[in-house]
Symmetry: D2
Subunit: 382 residues, 4 copies
């Protein structure tokens, strides 16, 4: 399966950057979930370019839902989101039909699609395609929140500037909700913005790290092999353009610790089993342990830079140079953050539906299964 | 799908650490691939415990192939590998039926399987289950090598000691082949061993990083969404017990670079398009670019340590302490390395079969598709 | 996976009968396949209601392709077909919100979606949803034809009137192409129409049998288990609303034969292996044998009839009667026929891509694999 | 996916008729389900050859469970069944290495596997491979029965002799349970046996029809597209060797009825909604309606007959004749019946797990979801 992801709850995406429309089909979500078009619009606006630190391309990104919603609620059948492309200036991209942009998918697209790909603006490889994911993700995020499961992502680092880590995860997620530039330490926003603008002034770009936390997720969800929670989450998260690494909990840092440092002691608090630390990022043996799930995604610097670069003419096979024109982002971490939230939400809806059945998300009662213990999730032992 | 991974070429694994037998079913591999039982045995021996730096549990790990091989070659139908368990001392594990070992899956297994899981020796969560993956992987590795595609993994770091990076990837992979303790810098072997033994002496454990390289992989394989090469590889690699992070190319390091540093310039060399650097790890837009694929997996320190730890009695819900007995590994990176090779090979066989058809692996000619250009893979531009 | 079918080539469908729009996403088809919008429109017109023997609801059914086609050819990325609903008269359906129509999915939809389903006009269960399948199928049918593989379906029986069987399959398929009412024996058209009109006059409806043939399909495609050609074809064909039986070759008739009657003798003709008869319908052991594939689908009579029927009020649980209003088809076999062609084409494109790789459909040469022998397909031994 | 079927509950099968061993891996079944090895053995014996009407090949078919069962109950992880082959007389099959048996998969296997297939006794295409399905199916059948869901299959017709149809489905299923030759009308057993022996005496074979009923299955399970209950059941059932047609309820017969005859009126009985007739076979719009599910499979006559047949020498491509030796069944309907039960049970376990979650089968309470109404299933309205 290519542009479709998920099993019980699945997402199919389509579109090209400069094509007619982009969008997504979200299938398998329980019937009866409220669909709040204002919330979808607000999530879309978090992904949109804004101000000096993003591309000047301005898209309305208004989402038309053409199926799967009836009287404001999901019907249980596929929900289709369509976003028409509007501000396409394809004349900027002529030269890119044959000069492969370094760091972009132009060359690999040529190897795969033999020249038939829509090369304009990156075509189907464009970050723009994530708009459909964000629209669908908004429905999933709302549905999870109604069950007490919250998701938030902050820019853990950008261009070398580091945000503070998550502390009180529940409160931190609430703080991040709706924040246009998602950092936990307010002082860090100005510093990161400055670094991005500095790179932009040089015709260059910066990358960063996104850290996502999930609060309130029940224990006992996931598989030992091969559909570990880490496996299914990373599988989907690597679709975010520019993500080149995914780690959970202490992640790569754990490789330098001793077992006695990295193991999370189990503790009983008010009758619930929690862990004193959360180095495992809420996942042991591929299965959730009821503590917050913590994920970090490495985002490479945007490959579209204005500096002259060496490349190859794909028609002649000869060396040449390339000076990218067009409208580009000096950084995309701040825009990709809502995509990380969305993909995480969609994957977790699928996992929950597989574990507890397709209707779990709309069942009014909590704790119907003995191991869904709200008190067990997110608390840190003293 | 749970214990099955892959689409055109798929692997199903089964077994528990102290059960009757473990094994794997490898399906979809082309008919006519030679199956070398000696090579399988040699790969199995790389995974086995050995000497002071591994568990004293000794398993023959002899592999019985009961289907799918006829006259020494694959039939095209499922190949089943069965490995009987022999040296099981289940009496060591009694207390672990109710005390959750920190860092292990005991607690999450209880949440998922409600006490019916086979807890002995970690049951189905045991690293021992990877033996079936290694047996199947040996067939895949051989098949790829016959097509000019080579895979090798070294211990990039262990307990803080760092090996040198890959340099000439083709030669480095050849060097690693069959090496019991896989490091590229021979001097580093002794240092890592010392660190492992030091941790063992303290009843503790260490982790590390595995770096895998694939040489000779054709350009144009993979998908933009969601089955990016990074996505499908990470999905499977996170099944290696203790892996908590996966990155490609420069990975997390790329998040601190500028675009002008991280972009890999395209260069024409002898009529082939290569890149001057390989920060992208051979993958752009989710699709191979013909350069070596480079993957790094973070392995957490083995959770089974002999130091006393705090935990919870899963029967009573009360706090208690735990002193693990039994036979355990002070480090598993050196044993996990052949698992990384195996999983990588299996995933790539699947990707190649999806791209070029089920028989590609046994087609005698090369370059039947225009974008399979052997000269295009692995060379670095001057 | 629910509204998505296929592995290498897949189709996702969406929409409700009286919603905003319906459509489909076709993914995985090779890049470079010509997309002929006129041919799509002509296939759509075969599915549309027409004249006295269909529903008076008139839909333009104009197809908008919003992604995946560039310069008139497939890009290799998802092709999205959108068909806006226009002639919706939802007022007709008020009573049907709570009275389950016998033979329809109203009651089972209520059991599954708990009242949140869009009940208007059958919602997502409507035969109207097949319009997206036909649009996508038109691209698949064209692509197969360019490789010498032809598909055609005739109304084998309708309301008790029987068409003649396939004789020269290649010629018969050509004859059926574009025929509005697809029968092989022209005299039979009038008889079937009369039977349909007779049922209509009584406020009743009739069913029938669709027989599909595939000519030129290569030998060696399919699987022994579980993805037998019969299995994957039937899986998809049972999605055609009202199909309640699927058989291959002699099908149910074979159950009454002796082995000596049913076995198809192999014969060598001009160096090719063919069978003297084709009782197996071109499939042995789940795999194509190069002879025409022959499929028969049983279509039940349209459940929407105007006669008063007994049913239950789903709100109160009490017995009641129902007199269906609205616009309905006295028969749908003639409209479903192009859906059978389309689904068959889509499934076979997927099977071919799995077998020979994603680019096979656009490879200009034939017979690259030794078992693709054009002469071997469709000929009958003397 | 090839030899693996199912999503939440899946089955992987392996083995060749004359190889070392055959078997199956059953994954995803809930933890805590009792595994009764005696019941498995009794189901295996129903599949075994017996007496004059089956092949003289005698296999012990003793099943060894090597994983996934602990203390007599499922662990929730893969259950592996291994059946060693014993009575293999491969010398009988020498000529069949190059002479394609009519009606068998020898020729299509050659086209797919290029001569590397294990041709002995049909290899992986042999009906013997169903033994693993029966072993796994026994666990599924038991688990369903514990939830009040019963499955039974009878030989509806064989060699032209017809059994009586299902009448009281619950009682009829009980009657069929454990019956070696499964007919509802006892008088019919002798007649069918006589027909089989008559065919055998002539060196010929007969086919038949298997009719399967499921009692107590909840309403609201299945999908409108593409995973209709009909679709997923038929997909799997076509894997039973020799099945060439699958129909539900009235099936092909419905194609000759009027809507007013075929529609099943809904009736309220004791507060439950049932249908007065069951022409739809318990499935409307791809979703269960709570009435018994009724499936009919057409089984072609066994292709291994002793009469001389025309065929082709696959090595030389020349016409030749073939006189099959070896040990073969003059009919397989009576042996295939337990395979139909098993596959149906496995598919339904998967469907239930997808709908209600992985633990539904072991949840002690019934009716947790409002639409699981035991009274609603199987009763016929007066």
């Amino acid at each position: 399966m290519k542009n479709t992801f998920g099993s019980s709850v699945s997402l199919t995406i389509f579109g090209e950057s400069h094509g007619t429309a982009i969008g997504a089909v979200l299938d398998g979500l329980a019937a009866g979930i409220p669909v709040d078009e204002d919330y979808i619009a607000s999530q879309m606006s978090l992904r949109k370019s804004s101000g000096d630190i993003s591309t000047p391309r301005m898209e309305a990104d208004s989402v038309r839902i053409v199926s799967g919603v009836f009287n404001g609620k999901t019907t249980g059948t596929p929900i289709t989101f369509i976003i028409e492309n509007q501000d396409t200036r394809s004349r900027d991209y002529g030269e890119l039909a044959y000069k492969a942009r370094p760091g972009h998918a132009d060359f690999t697209a040529q190897m795969k699609y033999h020249g038939f790909q829509d090369f304009r603006g990156g075509g189907h490889f464009s970050g723009r395609i994530t708009a459909g994911i964000v629209a669908a993700g908004a429905v999933a995020i709302s549905a999870l929140r109604a069950k007490g499961i919250k998701i938030g992502t902050h820019i853990s680092s950008c261009g070398g500037v580091k945000d503070r880590p998550f502390m009180n995860i529940s409160e931190d997620i609430d703080k991040l909700s709706g924040l246009p530039f998602a950092v936990l330490d307010d002082a860090c926003r100005e510093k990161m913005t400055a670094v991005i603008l500095e790179a932009k002034a040089e015709g260059d770009s910066v990358g960063g790290i996104l850290e996502t936390a999930v609060y309130g997720f029940p224990a006992g969800v996931g598989e030992p092999w091969f559909d570990t929670l880490e496996g299914v989450l990373s599988h989907a998260l690597f679709s975010i353009p520019a993500v080149k690494g995914v780690e959970f909990g202490t992640g790569f840092g754990a490789s330098e610790l001793h077992g006695s440092q990295n193991n999370d002691a189990f503790r009983s608090v008010d009758g619930n089993t929690v862990t004193a630390t959360n180095n495992c990022g809420g996942i042991l043996g591929g299965i959730s342990d009821g503590m917050p799930i913590v994920i970090r995604c490495a985002v490479k610097p945007t490959p579209s830079i204005y500096k002259e670069q060496q490349t190859v003419n794909m028609n002649t096979g000869e060396n040449t140079t390339l000076q990218i024109q067009g409208r580009h982002d000096p950084a995309i971490v701040h825009r990709a953050r809502v995509v990380a939230d969305s993909i995480t939400a969609l994957v977790l809806c699928d996992q929950l539906a597989l574990r507890y059945g397709t209707d779990w998300l709309v069942q009014p009662y909590k704790g119907v299964e003995e191991n869904v213990n709200e008190n067990n999730t997110g608390a840190s032992a003293p």
